[in-house]
Symmetry: C2
Subunit: 328 residues, 2 copies
DNA sequence: TTGTAAGCGTTATCAA
DNA sequence: TTGATAACGCTTACAA
């Protein structure tokens, strides 16, 4: 069933059917009525592939995220959805599982014009390739960005955020502070490690690398990393983790060793996930304005698609330190 | 940049370029080399819209989920992704936020041939409409299904699952049992309520509707619902919740009232989320084989797309009762 | 092995 | 107000 069939049934040309669908005002009322009736009777829906081939627009944007098992993304996605829908864009999600191959598959949707733009929250593509893409297609990054890439991104200042969290701990009197970082080595984590060290340096604390343990993204891994840190000669009295998940793992570890987080040891996580609020003890954390990041990123992408904004910009959002029961 | 441009540069016809891309074996090695060189030099990627228009295949499937803020979906999605990728299908996600309008937008991608098939995990469309869609396009449902709809779905037996959980509590000696259901009234919840009542009836327990409180999907709401249940004259000694989220809210409520879940009161949730395992006390729960559901659903959809399987089937997966610290 | 050309479903220009 | 038709980028008989 195509507009051709509709046209035949209505005894008009395909042009008139197309007009009835897209510019009804330009069609005589009776003709229009006859055509819409036939369309409805047949449950006819125009093939958007044909339309896109002709118009080169899809009104769809694709958000690429590395993983679904992360309470961090839903809020961002909500901001994205709300903003995109307001501009009558449809949003699709692609999950890469950190695989470069999968990422390429989704990027192909951009280069092959299946979507009007892409918003990526993690990329493992070489910078040169990204630069080439970003120069030719609407592509911007959020939260995680590729160092040296010439493109627009929206994120927080991860170095400063970590610095703030660790400074807080130092000001509270902690002198031996450990960090649980991630072994999925992203720039955001690199910067958080730098912020961790800067805060320590400014107070002449030992910045030896043995204070930084790298874990994967699971609770258990945070547990183990914490155990390693506590086994050090000058066992840390405070731990800064790059995610709430890891912080909760660390909290569990401390409890298992008879320590009470917020009393015997301080723990600060990252991302302000639902978990960190609900967990007992509630976890202190660094909060990113997730919803706003989603909104701003979507807005930037849409501006880029519509040609309004062509200059690459680095948009930094504010962060907040939220102190809860897990730290003193 | 189109295959036409490549063809011109290589001094061949578009057909030869197309063959080089899709059936390289059918092109002479030298020609092929010349063409691939030009393709690479120009970073050329064939426009898939043109290809799709011609072949009527996209090799993409769309998974429609109602919400991202639910730890329940990631595992399902993982199964879906793994299965679909193995069959070299690309998977896209659409989030509806329970909005019928958004759902229609995504369904349009099916009817307008932007994707080869749809796998839906929640629908608010009228059954008649679904039947019409499912008859004409590859569309199957997972977990949540539309009663009376004539289509293939993959889910657990929600009635039996709830029956099993409540029977367990009764066998443990509980005589006053409350339920926290949801006010997003889906069939799965309806059946869980039925299972709850059936177990009670079989043991001649009071099935008065005052034992069922309906909450939304937030923790707080589970907390409040629990408070209402406990305020009853014959205050329940056990609570069955339709989600782990609500169960955790209930647990918090009990603790706030000086009761210890697993000792003074028993709580059983649903879905076996990460949360339910990590939370303290760990939450007893009914487990759905999430990953397998994703795999089976994707497999069924792909069979349907490829025309292998045309009969509508109701595929029931097994469920498990997992007893943890929150119940005795 | 390669080329020609029709056709996928739509929109948009131009003419009637 | 409507119709004829070219064009969007690609694949695929069929012919050479």
């Amino acid at each position: 069933m195509t507009i051709k069939d509709i046209a035949r049934q209505a005894g008009v040309s395909t042009a008139t059917v197309s007009r009835t669908i897209n510019e009804p005002g330009k069609v005589a009322p009776e003709t229009r009525q006859r055509i819409t009736d036939i369309i409805n009777e047949n449950h006819f829906v125009p093939n958007s592939i044909g339309k896109t081939l002709r118009t080169a627009r899809t009104d769809q944007i694709l958000a690429i995220i590395p993983s679904l098992s992360n309470d961090f993304y839903p809020s961002i996605m909500k901001g994205l959805l709300d903003t995109a829908r307001q501009a009558s864009y449809n949003v699709l999600f692609g999950v890469t599982d950190f695989s470069e191959r999968e990422e390429r598959r989704f990027m192909n949707m951009l280069t092959t014009k299946q979507v009007d733009g892409v918003l990526s929250f993690y990329s493992s593509l070489p910078v040169a390739e990204l630069n080439h893409l970003a120069a030719g297609y609407p592509y911007i990054q959020g939260c995680e960005y590729s160092e040296g890439a010439d493109l627009t991104y929206v994120a927080i200042d991860n170095e400063q955020a970590a610095y703030d969290a660790v400074s807080y701990l130092i000001n509270k009197g902690h002198r031996s502070i450990g960090m649980i970082s991630s072994n999925i080595y992203t720039y955001s984590e690199k910067y958080r490690e730098q912020g961790f060290n800067r805060a320590k340096e400014e107070h002449n604390l030992d910045t030896g690398s043995r204070y930084i343990m790298r874990a994967n993204y699971q609770y258990d891994s945070g547990f183990d990393a914490c155990a390693h840190l506590l086994a050090q000669p000058d066992s840390p009295t405070a731990i800064f983790a790059v995610s709430d998940t890891l912080a909760i793992g660390a909290s569990k570890c401390c409890v298992s060793m008879g320590m009470q987080p917020g009393k015997d040891i301080s723990i600060i996580g990252f991302d302000n996930t639902t978990f960190s609020q609900i967990y007992n003890p509630s976890i202190s954390t660094v909060s990113q304005p997730k919803y706003e990041i989603g909104c701003v990123a979507a807005g930037a992408l849409i501006d880029r698609i519509s040609g309004k904004d062509t200059a690459n910009r680095r948009i930094l959002m504010r962060h907040d330190l939220i102190i809860r029961a897990s730290s003193i």
